[in-house]
């Protein structure tokens, strides 16, 4: 159903998505679901054939070339080695990254609607036109491309060159996207000097659980973001439930995520993330829990943040402590003498 199990996927492909051709067409949807369940059962048996096992990662750590800079605390070199192996698998919608592909169905509308609610001037045909977005840890560009299609100018950065290469190559076929999206192989620190207060929006989706120094990461986000700019983060909570579901079930049993991708120690509880954000000049506006349904392969919102969650925070305005809206209200309170005469 999802990644891992080369044998499982080969079998699924041999059976073909359209094996149900001879059956009643109306049942096609149901049959496909059954096929997915069937390949999942194969997955359980062939656990030993997972191509990206922990031992494989450890042995490849010695042979992988240094293709990225590790002098920045927001980049963890061990994490980078894990993703190196899967750099070419980003765009297979039913491969290792299928859960990230389907996460677009909730994270893109979340970003889009939050930004539309904050703005009064937009066209529904091109909702994010004029918005400059930084996608930190863009990987193969899974989130950058939909945002680009909605009209935004996106800069995607990722410390791994192979990821950037995959992303560049994928966007190159669409002339509209090729112009709207720019990819750079770099860490967040590296672009801080040249991009102070440049971006309207920063998106860090499924990234903060991989960074070494979270506070430094947030400080850099703040420097690169314009005042009143938005920061969107999606990540995993650090709870017993997230250990059971996010690591044991997702990685070891069901193979939703390649094994070894996540370390429970690095998960971030929303309370801690909120604390770090508030103490670094952000104001947290929204915290929403997210839930992945492995049977349907789809994400949905939920009340509880005990597994996955999303945060929207806004950088407070510059120029001292008051935000532009505070300054406006001060002006208004100075004018009553002028209008008092006209009010009846």
């Amino acid at each position: 159903m999802w990644g891992g199990g080369a044998a499982a996927r080969a079998l699924t492909r041999a059976l073909g998505r359209r094996r149900a051709a001879g059956a009643l067409p109306g049942a096609a949807g149901g049959l496909r679901g059954t096929l997915q369940n069937y390949s999942w059962k194969i997955q359980l048996k062939s656990g030993s054939t997972l191509p990206v096992s922990k031992t494989e990662i450890k042995s490849s750590m010695l042979t992988v070339k240094r293709l990225f800079s590790t002098s920045h605390p927001s980049v963890d070199s061990k994490e980078m080695k894990k993703f190196q192996l899967l750099a070419h698998k980003w765009w297979d919608e039913e491969g290792e990254y299928s859960a990230l592909h389907s996460m677009n169905d909730i994270r893109v509308p979340f970003i889009r609607d939050t930004l539309l609610n904050m703005s009064s001037n937009y066209h529904l045909g091109n909702p994010l036109s004029g918005v400059k977005i930084l996608d930190v840890g863009c990987g193969g560009g899974l989130l950058s491309e939909p945002l680009g299609r909605l009209g935004a100018s996106v800069t995607g950065i990722d410390p791994l060159e192979d990821n950037i290469r995959t992303a560049d190559q994928h966007k190159s076929f669409d002339p509209v996207l090729a112009k709207r999206i720019q990819y750079k192989s770099s860490s967040l620190e590296e672009i801080v000097e040249e991009s102070m207060e440049t971006f309207d929006v920063i998106v860090a989706s499924e990234v903060v659980e991989h960074v070494a120094d979270l506070e430094m990461f947030i400080k850099c986000c703040s420097q690169v973001l314009k005042p009143e700019g938005s920061l969107f983060i999606t990540t995993i909570n650090k709870t017993q439930l997230s250990y059971v579901l996010g690591i044991v079930v997702a990685e070891k049993i069901m193979g939703i995520v390649p094994e070894g991708t996540h370390e429970w120690e690095k998960f971030v509880p929303p309370e801690e993330l909120e604390r770090l954000l508030e103490s670094n000049g952000f104001s947290v506006k929204t915290v929403n829990g997210m839930l992945y349904n492995p049977l349907s392969g789809s994400w949905s919102w939920m009340e509880s943040t005990s597994i996955n969650y999303a945060i929207h925070a806004v950088k407070s305005g510059a120029r001292g402590q008051s935000s532009p809206t505070d300054a406006l209200s001060e002006l208004e309170s100075e004018q009553p003498s002028a209008t008092a005469g006209t009010a009846v």
């Binding site: 492909r13 041999a14 059976l15 073909g16 998505r17 359209r18 094996r19 149900a20 051709a21 001879g22 009643l24 067409p25 109306g26 096609a28 949807g29 496909r32 765009w91 297979d92 919608e93 389907s102 677009n104 169905d105 893109v108 509308p109 889009r112 066209h123 529904l124 045909g125 091109n126 909702p127 491309e145 939909p146 945002l147 680009g148 299609r149 909605l150 009209g151 190559q169 994928h170 076929f173 669409d174 002339p175």
Partner: protein, 432 residues
Amino acid sequence: MAVAWGRGRLAPLAGRLRAGSRAPLRSVAAAAAPLYDVVVSGGGMVGSAMAAVLGHDIHFHDKKIALLEAGPRKEYDHIPDSYSNRVSSISPGSATLLSSFGAWDHVCSLRLKPFRRMQVWDACSEAMIVFEKDDLEDMGYIVENDVIMSALTKQLDAVADRVEVFYRSRAVGYTWPLPSHSCDTSPWVQIELADGRRLQTKLLIGADGHNSAVRKEAEIKNIEHRYDQSAVVATLHLSEATDNNVAWQRFLPTGPIALLPWSNVNHSDFIDTAGAMFRSAISLLKPSGTAVRQLPPSVAKVDPGSRAMFPLGMGHATEYVQHRVALIGDAAHRVHPLAGQGVNLGFGDIACLAHHLSAAAFNGSDLGSLKHLLKFETERQRHNVSLIAAVDLLKRLYSTRLAPLVLLRTWGLQATNALPPVKEQIMAFASK
């Protein structure tokens, strides 16, 4: 049906790979072909309406759409006085779709005939069923195909900046992208036209009729069955003045015969009014209108040169979608005209596909992605399969004189006629 199954099994299990031509390498020539977001192949009623709906969709404001039509552009500046014999029965649901992008207003200003009542009966027995809405609203409309095309062409012209219509352009070859993304090959569908021009598209919609080339090239298996029958259509003149808002259908063993209301020509307004007053007087005395068995009008003559014949068949594609391809209208399904559903199923496909594509565009998704295309397929197959199977069953049931079957259908028809909730369900399903 068994024949089609057998053929399906013998073909190799191609899975997601197609045996058609491979995606071209990233040569300069391939890269130069203009890239469209959506290309609709087939400029008939369904294809033109699909392109028009997308062109008027707000989320497609910045997208490029193309419509390929093999025939020349027809001018519909004025509608001829004589009536065309190619007409369609348009359900209220289809009328809603057409009015959503302004085409229905054009149709109303040209020519159409609403009908309020449908009376269907069996030749071998006296069983009869009458359909009409409680509030005497229009059950459907009879519209000439040319009138619909005229309205659609006008609405396409209104969005010419987004929708490019290629007339006299027949697609001769399609090149499909590989399902799994590879570095060197183009991920788009390549279309080659007869005059050598090439187009690329993110999503190809096949609306090219029951002999769909898109469906054949995509190697989508089609379950089809030819009825050894043809339909004969003609325009008839009625001998007496009537309000002419009832559709009649009678099932004969040789096939159904239907009389569809077309116009009130040859009647003076005075007769119309007198007729209506008379009928309302009758209904005061006999309140239960459905108990009255209305007799169909008698035919005076056949319009010269209006007789035409076309073969009948049933068909249903096993898949409506593949990666970057979707089928709508007769390309996906073909039905016997006895229920007047053919083009309405196509308009239903358009409404569903446009809804999913619009949502996908607003989410920034890749338009050719199977995720939302499969949702369209599931939704429509659930609706279409039941209706096509029911129509086919009706056709077979009413083609026989065998006593047990006649008895069965007589009881069935009379029982259904006596149960208003069941009739309402049928009408609701058919008018979607």
